[in-house]
């Protein structure tokens, strides 16, 4: 069956057409933190990712209305069986140095990223490509499953059917890099040459700024609104907040939690609350005997008053979670979790029957505000369940992860998850499938694994229901207790408009309109 997705116009952008700002779009300055690096294949963090998204264009890009893949460099794609894929590439794209972007560019980039000698952080995002294992183990130089048929036709063969491929390819780990990049990556990332809406102006000034101008030869349908984007690098969001107030910085996409209460006084209408896919949950180490019994986990979940925590601790600034799939994704449901409803009496009964532990330790990583809501939950457990004492252990993040990796966590723990690309698959498979890299609960269910495999092999239209079915298993078994999805608050100055952020919490800077200059 041929799968063709049409480009859905973004509502916000359509609105932009009739109030075209003067002077070619104007200049905006926007917040970011110091990126770890500016190599698309090596970046898995927010500070660099949102910058790279403006410098590069992948085969597909996210439609921010429907959270589906829409054509970008690939104008069309086909698959019969979700294993063999053919992508037809646009012939008009060039790198910012003038080199054409061809199918071979993708082949070379992906092989380079996967090559263990290059130690790229996104290498394992390519693990469904045929031949990935061989390259990783040093048995082959190139992945067998990635082939340039001609300059503008790319064939991808997977190890198993995977209908989510087009949306996966929106991720920055799949952006193409020009030949010069492979010669000297350090020089390249000082001023990355991409194929995106914007091109670097000068070099990345570490801890200070990254400037980019609109690339006028970008052939896509919706080029960037601002003529120039200046990323200002801050290591403290409090300082950035003050700078927006003073008009020195146009946009801050991550208002510090401590400021949310006063945001309206400080900014009037110039702020917005944006849903994101950041899922914050209380995980349970199912590898420990006390947490093996599903009824203990259900009881803990039912004894959590998520609404109260949102009101008391966050002043309503979060979206309480009643499922695993982020509400921002179209297939998510808010009534699917039977055991997420607050029901202290039944919770206590269930906990008693199942013989849940009366004393245990709760784990958190040290960070802004984590302790506060985790302690609030612990207090709810103590008051609603036959639990006598809860001790807390807060650890530095590195140490925290070590404890998880060595399976030494003995009680409930806090962790978060942010989608790298908007797919239900990514909200579940890396966290809950047997033996998965981020499966810290060590949850293992054949039913769930089968359900995910089935959903993965379906095409995009049928997948939604199948992913919901997979989610149902998680909501029955509750290896993690959904707590909330984090909302991000944006503040901006008077001179910009149409400022919103996507499910990764990134401000869509390419859509921002400058009102006056």
């Amino acid at each position: 069956m041929a799968l063709v997705l049409s480009a859905c116009g973004n509502g916000a952008e359509e609105g932009a057409a009739d109030t075209q700002p003067a002077d070619g779009g104007g200049v905006i300055s926007t917040y970011t933190c110091e990126p770890q690096n500016l190599q698309p294949g090596n970046n898995t963090e927010n500070c660099g990712s949102r910058v790279l998204q403006q410098l590069f264009t992948g085969l597909t890009e996210v439609d921010y209305d429907t959270y589906e893949a829409q054509p970008a460099m690939a104008v069309d794609w086909h698959t019969e069986d979700q294993v063999q894929w053919t992508f037809e590439l646009s012939e008009e794209y060039t790198f910012h140095n003038g080199d054409p972007v061809t199918a071979q560019s993708f082949v070379d980039t992906w092989n380079w990223v996967v090559d263990p000698d290059n130690a790229q952080a996104t290498a394992n995002f390519h693990d469904k490509f045929l031949g990935y294992e061989d390259v990783v183990n040093g048995d082959a130089e190139e992945m067998e499953g990635v082939r340039a048929v001609d300059d503008y036709t790319l064939e991808i063969e997977l190890v198993e059917p995977f209908g989510q491929l087009p949306i996966v390819l929106t991720y920055n780990g799949f952006y193409p890099m020009p030949e010069v990049a492979f010669e000297d990556m350090d020089a390249f990332q000082r001023s990355p040459i991409g194929n995106g809406r914007y091109q670097m102006d000068g070099e990345w000034v570490h801890d200070s700024e990254i400037n980019m101008d609109r690339y006028e030869d970008w052939p896509g349908e919706n080029p960037g609104e601002p003529e120039r984007i200046e990323w200002r690098i801050y290591n403290d969001i409090e300082t950035a907040y003050l700078d927006v107030q003073a008009g020195e910085l146009d946009i801050l996409g991550e208002v510090p939690p401590s400021r949310i209460g006063q945001i309206e006084d400080d900014f009037g209408d110039n702020y917005s609350q944006n849903e994101s896919s950041r899922f914050v949950y209380i995980g349970l180490p199912t590898y420990q005997q006390e947490w093996e019994d599903v009824n203990v986990r259900r009881a803990l979940s039912m004894a959590m008053d998520r609404e109260e925590i949102n009101e008391q601790i966050f002043q309503g600034a979060m979206t309480p979670a009643y499922g695993i799939l982020p509400p921002i994704l179209p297939m998510s449901r808010n009534d699917a979790c039977e055991y997420c409803e607050f029901d202290p009496e039944q919770a206590a009964e269930l906990y008693e029957e199942a013989g849940g532990p009366t004393e245990f330790t709760v784990y958190t990583d040290i960070g802004t505000g984590h302790d506060e809501y985790v302690e609030a939950i612990a207090n709810q457990w103590i008051s609603h369940l036959p639990v006598e004492d809860i001790t807390f252990q807060s650890l530095e993040f590195a140490q925290y992860l070590d404890l998880h990796d060595s399976r030494e966590v003995t009680g409930p723990y806090r962790l978060g998850w942010l989608l790298a690309y908007p797919s239900a698959q990514y909200a579940m498979e890396p966290l809950y499938s047997t033996g998965a890299a981020s499966n810290n609960a060590e949850y293992s269910s054949e039913d769930f694994d089968d359900a995910i495999a089935e959903a993965n092999s379906a095409d995009a239209e049928e997948a939604d229901e199948l992913y919901q079915a997979a989610e149902d298993h998680l909501l029955e078994d509750l290896p993690v207790l959904p707590l909330f999805f984090q909302d991000y608050f944006i503040v901006h100055t008077d001179r910009v408009d149409n400022v919103y952020s996507d499910l990764s919490s990134y401000v869509r800077v390419e859509d921002v309109r400058v009102l006056e200059d």
Partner: protein, 308 residues
Amino acid sequence: MTGYIIRRLLQFIPVVIVATLIVYAMVFLMPGDPIRALSGDRPMSEQVQDRLREQYNLNDPFLIQYGKYMWGVFTQGDFGTTFQGRPVLDIIQQGLPVTLTLAAVAFCFQAIIGAIAGILAAVYKDSFIDRFVQVSLVVAVALPTLAIAFLLQLTFGLNLGWFPIAGTRDGMVSYILPGIVLAAVSTGIVARMLRSELIEALQSDYVRTATAKGMKRSRVVTRHGLRNSLIPVVTFLGADLATMMGGAIVVESVFNMPGLGGQVFRSIQAQENTIVVGIVTLMVLFYVVVNLLVDLLYAVLDPRIRYE
């Protein structure tokens, strides 16, 4: 004198070796695996993690790691790279001017304002000026650095708009607020120290003699009183210039300045030994050099002091 300086310089070698060893050990002993933490809750594949550990000698025992690092430093001038491949020298090159400028501005503030306040308070002892100086200095010393920083940012940055709130984009103007914050505590100490020393000196016999001979008051204060009161103040200023590197950690973070202080803080968190050791070595060197200069300055201030 020359012999003395050479001997002092030779003492730097053990100081630097011991200091780097201690710093390296402390970062090494921090719990947690830096490579695992690098990618947060989205782990990299085992192969990639192994490759990085190999590349940065993280599998070696402590002394071997330290030895390899120092070998690189002394044989090739190679101070290592970050986990992302950025040379540490590059980081130092970018951050050092910022931190030095900040320290220089702060130093000027505390030396000049501290001296003026101290002299005024001493000369007009028990007057309104004296009380005013004393009270404001107590406030400056007592307020936490962070509070002073926010207060200045809000008042002079946000409300009055006289100075930039953060960053170094506006050149020297950007250094004024952070300079004041960094200098605040020490200005108070300098002024109080100078005040008490000067009051004591002004009551001494040689000052009374000079006054009796009909010397002008200003000359008595500067040539006889001040010169003799400066030794403890200079000692303090010297030591303080060196400790400013520590204060720079907070101030650079709050004012978002791309200097070495903020960098060393972030690198310790990320357990990037190479950067921490590189920067700390630099700070240690700075500290010992400044101390040497202070010692040499004694001889200038007090001719009775001689170094052999």
